[in-house]
Amino acid sequence: MKIHEYQAKEIFAAAQIPVPLGQVASSVAEVASIAESYGRPVMIKAQVHVGGRGKAGGIQYAANVEAARVWAQKILGMDIKGLTVKKVLVTEAADIASESYVGIIIDRAQKKPVIMVSAAGGIDIEEVAAKTPEKIIKMAVDPTTGLKAYQARELAGNLYKDQALVRQAADVIMKLYDVYWKVDASLVEINPLITTPSGKVVALDAKINIDDNGLYRHKDVAAMRDLDAEDPSEVEARDGDLSFVKLSGNIGCIVNGAGLAMATMDLVKYYGGDPANFLDIGGSSNPQKVLTAMRIILRDQNVRAILINIFGGITRCDDVANGIVMAYEELKPEIPIVVRLTGTNADKAKVILKKVNLESADTLDNVVKKAIALAELEPMAEGRIQ
């Protein structure tokens, strides 16, 4: 799960990592009143779940309240990489002497958290990583013993020569490592970590991604989820305990198991079609899940055929078939549906599916080809579904 910069900064502040004064706002009036209360130049920063906000024009300097008002007007509602800006962070503008980078992620190959630092921080860090990777220093930390103070000093020593700055940065790195574990993060990042002309180290930006599997023990962090920033169908899928990712094609896919769902999409593409989504109904046979899946897919106006591929192992095909019949009767889809159910209780499932008028296929390849053929025959969606 992604959280916004202003939320990440709240977590940083609670961990005593120095951050500039700031407040979130969702209207021009709020922005103006915050800027006025600060009585000094501010930065207006778009809060969207995407990188490159600065380059897209979503981060602006405002010397006074009037400028803050003008920029807030422009940034609120702005589109950044397909996402609409609904909130901005108003924060004190800082004087910057230098910009560094600090980040922590899991290294899957080493099976350890890895701390990355670079003296070449700022908006071009991705370019630095691509072109001059030697400028990014990495250190794997033993997860059982944790980060030691001397290791943090060594990392910080790569950023600054001034020992007073090294000491502050080492402290920030130690605290950042604690935050990483405390919130079950999959990534924490400060870019840039700045020094001010007066010799202070400050986290000017903050990014935290949370491991979804850890959310159950962090109700406060889970509550930070911004439903406005997500695709509504993905939100509905998550509430229905489905794994769903929207794509741009016209063949809706309902599959059990993530690997098989990916393989099914890949085959749709391979045989010349275009999948509309990734959807895994999971290991359970709950008919309700099939209903939710079908409802989400039918709402997508691009979809011209639905492909259902179930390999019954522990999932029983007859249970899924009951779900399909239920969904069919309740939603009355007007586009073709092709079903392939194989494995446990597939014979019983076939009898159940005779109640409704569906196409069927026996193999993975055939169900995909049939779905593509039917989608091509189907007229465009306009006015077809309510």
């Binding site: 190959a109 599997n213 690997g259 085959l267 593409k269 192992g313 993975l364």
Partner: protein, 338 residues
């Protein structure tokens, strides 16, 4: 022959009184797995489908001499269950549970390794050695005894591949699902090493997916160290970057972990990659026939290469516990002897 589990494997079920635990304990027993006990704290002394329940893994091990455990407890208890199994001296721990936090797994991974145990999963379907034993949730009806090892990060996709093999008359030594999470106890290379050393396994099917670099590293391992043919499949060619595709580990991050990279790495190592799971049997048959056509040359190569990496001699490749646990230590020892 098989890897990791066989008729003699003595299994306990952690979380046996739960819905999943009791159901799968019965399924395993029906398949012929030697399920000797179950564990649910506080329910010791009771029975589930004729299987005795113990309060702790240590109790169960003391009474039953179990060497393998399968975990079906909810994610918030799964990590504790793994530690308990390790501390009770279980050597093979299979964690079916999905939803274990990745950072917890970092600590567990080191702990399991340091105690000489082996963890499979989490978030995996377990494993099955056809006709011998199944530990986990794979359906027994789709497998058939034969010469092919199957290793996969997935569940139902694995069933699809196994079923295709079985329908084509190609049986399996052991099928193993290593799990769809970012941090898993046993990876492709660990499993390929075991298949390479198992005399009954003549070829291996490796089913990967987007995310991480395990497939690339496995390809390198196959190129350098394996004598047996390997056929691959990679799921997620269509996956958009930055989106988690169901499995916690199936995500393209920072442009790395794409299917394209993985397929190229596999091909470079001489591993053909099937476009559809249904193509796998034909590719396996082709590879096995090619290997059989030049038996003399292949055998010589086997001996030579096997010596080079410290493998036991063909025909004598029975894995001892020590070898299973510490393949790296074994390599060093072999080099020294040479």
């Amino acid at each position: 022959m098989s890897i990791l589990i066989n008729k003699k494997t003595k299994v306990i079920v952690q979380g046996i009184t739960g819905r999943d635990g009791s159901f799968h304990a019965e399924q395993m027993k029906k398949y012929g797995t030697n399920v000797v006990g179950g564990v649910t704290p506080g329910k010791g002394g009771t029975e589930v489908n004729g299987i005795p329940v113990f309060n702790s893994v240590a109790d169960a091990v003391a009474k039953t001499k179990a060497n393998t455990s399968v975990i079906y407890v909810p994610p918030s208890f799964a990590i504790d269950a793994v530690y308990e199994a390790v501390d009770a001296g279980i050597s093979l721990i299979v964690c079916i549970t999905e939803g274990v936090p990745a950072n917890d797994m970092l600590k567990v991974y080191d702990y399991v390794k340091s105690r000489g145990a082996r963890l499979i999963g989490p978030n995996c379907p377990g494993l099955i050695s056809p006709g011998e034993s199944k530990v986990g949730i794979m359906p027994g009806s789709i497998v058939k005894k034969g010469p092919v090892g199957v290793v996969s990060r997935s569940g139902t996709l694995t069933y699809e591949a196994i079923w295709a093999l079985t329908c084509a008359g190609i049986g399996q030594t052991t099928c193993i699902g290593i799990g769809g999470d970012q941090i898993i106890g046993t990876n492709f290379i660990d499993t390929l090493e075991l298949f390479e050393a198992d005399p009954a396994t003549k070829a291996v099917v490796m089913i990967g997916e987007i995310g991480g670099t395990d497939e690339e590293m496995a390809a390198e391992f196959v190129r350098k160290k394996m004598t047996k043919p390997v056929v691959g499949f990679i799921a997620g060619r269509m996956a958009p970057p930055g989106k988690r595709m169901g499995h916690a580990g199936a995500i393209i991050s920072g442009g790395s972990g794409t299917a394209k990279e993985k397929i190229e790495a596999l091909n470079k190592a001489g591993i053909p990659v099937a476009v559809s799971p249904t193509e796998i049997p034909a590719l396996i048959r082709e590879k096995m026939q090619a290997a059989a056509r030049k038996p003399a040359a292949k055998k010589a190569a086997t001996v030579k290469k096997a010596k080079g990496i410290g493998k036991v001699k063909p025909g004598k490749a029975i894995m001892t516990k020590k070898q299973r646990i510490a393949p790296k230590a074994r390599k060093v020892g072999a080099k020294k002897r040479k």
